[in-house]
């Protein structure tokens, strides 16, 4: 059983494009202070950044929880929002329900969820339409920790 060493959680509001992206920077700084392998830091940063973009585009609000255990980095994104009716479709690269306006801002390329999955060692997504979505990503630490 992995031992939880450190945890922190962050609140983020939907449609707050100004602040979207700040949590990934905060976690990056934290992981750098923890002297985690830069390759793992980069993966965790991409996971959180993509999640933040999904939240500001679609959700009302969300909690992002970061955990460090002696075995891995855990990131749980729990949002209150519309939910995803067809998860299989949402996981396909390039599939997106973004509006033209979002696309003009450079978002909604349909790479968010696939990108989170690609950067995770363990990936899980559960969604209830009308309630929200919970995404769990875990990234295994290497020997150095």
């Amino acid at each position: 059983m992995a031992e939880l060493l450190l945890t922190s959680s962050y609140q983020i509001a939907g449609r707050d494009f100004d602040k979207g992206g700040e949590i990934s920077t905060e976690v990056k700084v934290l992981l750098q202070k923890l002297e985690i392998d830069p390759r793992l830091i980069r993966r965790a940063v991409v996971v959180i950044f993509e999640a933040e973009m999904n939240i500001v585009m679609y959700a009302d609000e969300a909690t992002i929880t970061f955990e460090l255990t002696d075995e891995d980095i855990g990131i749980v994104i729990d949002d209150r929002g519309p939910g995803i009716p067809d998860l299989e479709l949402a996981m396909q690269e390039g599939w997106s329900t973004a509006t033209d306006e979002m696309r003009e801002m450079g978002f909604g390329l349909g790479m968010g969820l696939p990108n989170i999955k690609r950067n995770s060692d363990v990936f899980d997504i559960r969604s209830t339409v009308g309630e929200g979505t919970v995404v769990t990503s875990r990234i295994f630490l290497d020997d150095h920790g």
Partner: protein, 432 residues
């Protein structure tokens, strides 16, 4: 911990502990204890912000004068293209060459070929690059060090091509040793540099080892002599030199922040100047936010190399003069281009060494590192958050980390320790 050498030194006798350098340092590498500033070598990226900020001249840079190369039999200048934009409009580049010779160089190298060669190689490399994008220019040594210290994972995106001044120096040693019958080590290849950072990177390359360039002399150090001689030549209208060092617009663009303008897709080519902006863009790259960009040109100085700390002219005036010179020139110089093609087929342009990551490491196992981070967070809550700097660290965050890492004490904070205020009062006491 590895030892890092830097090109800047703080003179403890002159330093009065005023905190200006500590506040200017972009990587939080400076602490001021007992009325004297000191540098944490592993964090310093040789940007020179501290030197510019110091009001007392207590920070000095390792400087090199042409005279320091007197032991060489033959001294060849490699003029940074920035040099040619530093003179009044009536002074032509060929007259600047005349000025350099009068100032004591035995020859001035036609640097246009190597710059063309590197432009050619870079465009090719961008086209065939399959790694992470964007590729990042390796021209500015401060940026390379910033990557080593703060963005180690992005070092893979550093342009894998040797610097133009290095191949110029290699070529100089070869051709003059053949022409003069001298051993290559008796021929000095000397870069005429717009900034201290390049001097340092020549003496101590980021990748380790030693390049072909023997040293660098600052533009500011030669300026008066070169200007006087060049103006003299301009007045007499004399044809001073058989060739002009600047025969195409492409060469002078190397003095601007967008040297490859017109050669790669405009919308896929980004140029960022000034360290704070570069840091913002690097953060975006790390998040995967910067999409659709092939090549990123970064310079630590605002406005690019014309703002280097060893230049003379106002950065905006210099940029206008360069624009003016560029507009008078053809895009390509045919003879030069043929030589570029010939050498491109023949020469190996891979760098000898790749800069290695240099992250600040306190070490310890994972639990120890977690303990430090938690301690720092706990300590931080006891600090006022005003970032006054009187403790000798640039911010409350940094002091908290220093304490957790055992290189600071809670009593350094003036809010926690009245004794600290007394110490400071004593140190900075002024007679009325």
């Amino acid at each position: 911990m590895a030892e890092y050498e830097h090109g800047f030194a703080i003179d403890a006798d002159v330093c009065d502990g005023c905190l200006a350098c500590m506040r200017a340092c972009p990587t939080n590498a400076i602490r001021v204890k007992y009325g004297t500033a000191s540098v944490l070598a592993e964090l310093c990226i040789d940007c020179g912000s501290c030197l510019t900020a110091c009001p007392h001249g207590a920070i000095t840079a390792q400087t090199v004068r042409l005279d320091d190369f007197r032991d060489f039999s033959f001294r060849v200048a490699i003029p940074s293209p920035v040099l040619f934009g530093q003179f009044p409009p009536d002074v032509r580049p060929d007259q600047v060459v005349h000025g350099l010779l009068a100032a004591g160089f035995d020859a001035v190298w036609d640097y246009s070929i190597e710059l063309g060669l590197i432009s050619r190689a870079t465009v090719d490399c961008i086209r065939h690059w399959h790694g992470q994008k964007p590729l990042i220019s390796n021209m500015c040594p401060v940026i390379v060090e910033l990557l080593q210290v703060s963005y180690p994972r992005m070092l893979d995106q550093l342009l894998p091509i040797v610097l133009p001044r290095q191949i110029a120096a290699r070529q100089i040693k070869q051709s003059f040793s053949r022409e003069l019958g001298l051993p290559p080590e008796e021929i000095a290849a000397i870069y005429v540099t717009p900034c201290q950072a390049k001097t340092i990177s020549i003496l101590r390359p980021a990748g380790g080892g030693r390049g072909f360039v023997d040293g660098a002399v600052g533009i500011a150090q030669m300026y008066n002599t070169v200007l006087a001689e060049a103006q003299e030549a301009a007045k007499s209208g004399r044809q001073t030199y058989g060739w002009s060092p600047v025969r195409s617009a492409g060469i002078l663009r190397w003095a601007t922040p967008r040297p490859l303008a017109g050669r790669i897709g405009r919308d896929r080519y980004l140029s960022v100047t000034g360290l704070p902006d570069v840091i913002k863009v690097f953060d975006d790259i790390e998040k995967g936010r910067l999409r659709g960009i092939d090549y990123l040109e970064c310079r630590a100085c605002w406005g690019g190399c014309t703002h280097g700390n060893l230049t003379v002219d106002n950065v905006y005036v210099a940029a206008a003069k360069l624009e003016n010179l560029i507009s008078d020139l053809p895009e390509f110089d045919d003879g030069g281009q043929a030589e570029v093609e010939r050498r491109y087929r023949r020469e190996d342009l891979t760098p000898a060494q790749k800069p290695e990551p240099r992250p600040a490491v306190h070490g310890g196992d994972l639990r120890e590192r977690v303990r430090r981070v938690k301690d720092a967070a706990r300590i931080r809550e006891r600090l006022p958050g005003l970032d006054c700097g009187l403790c000798g660290a640039p911010s409350c965050d940094v002091l908290a980390e220093d304490i957790a890492g055992e290189r600071g004490a809670l009593t350094d904070c003036v809010f926690i320790s009245p004794q600290r205020i007394e110490e400071l009062r004593h140190l900075h006491h002024r007679e009325d």
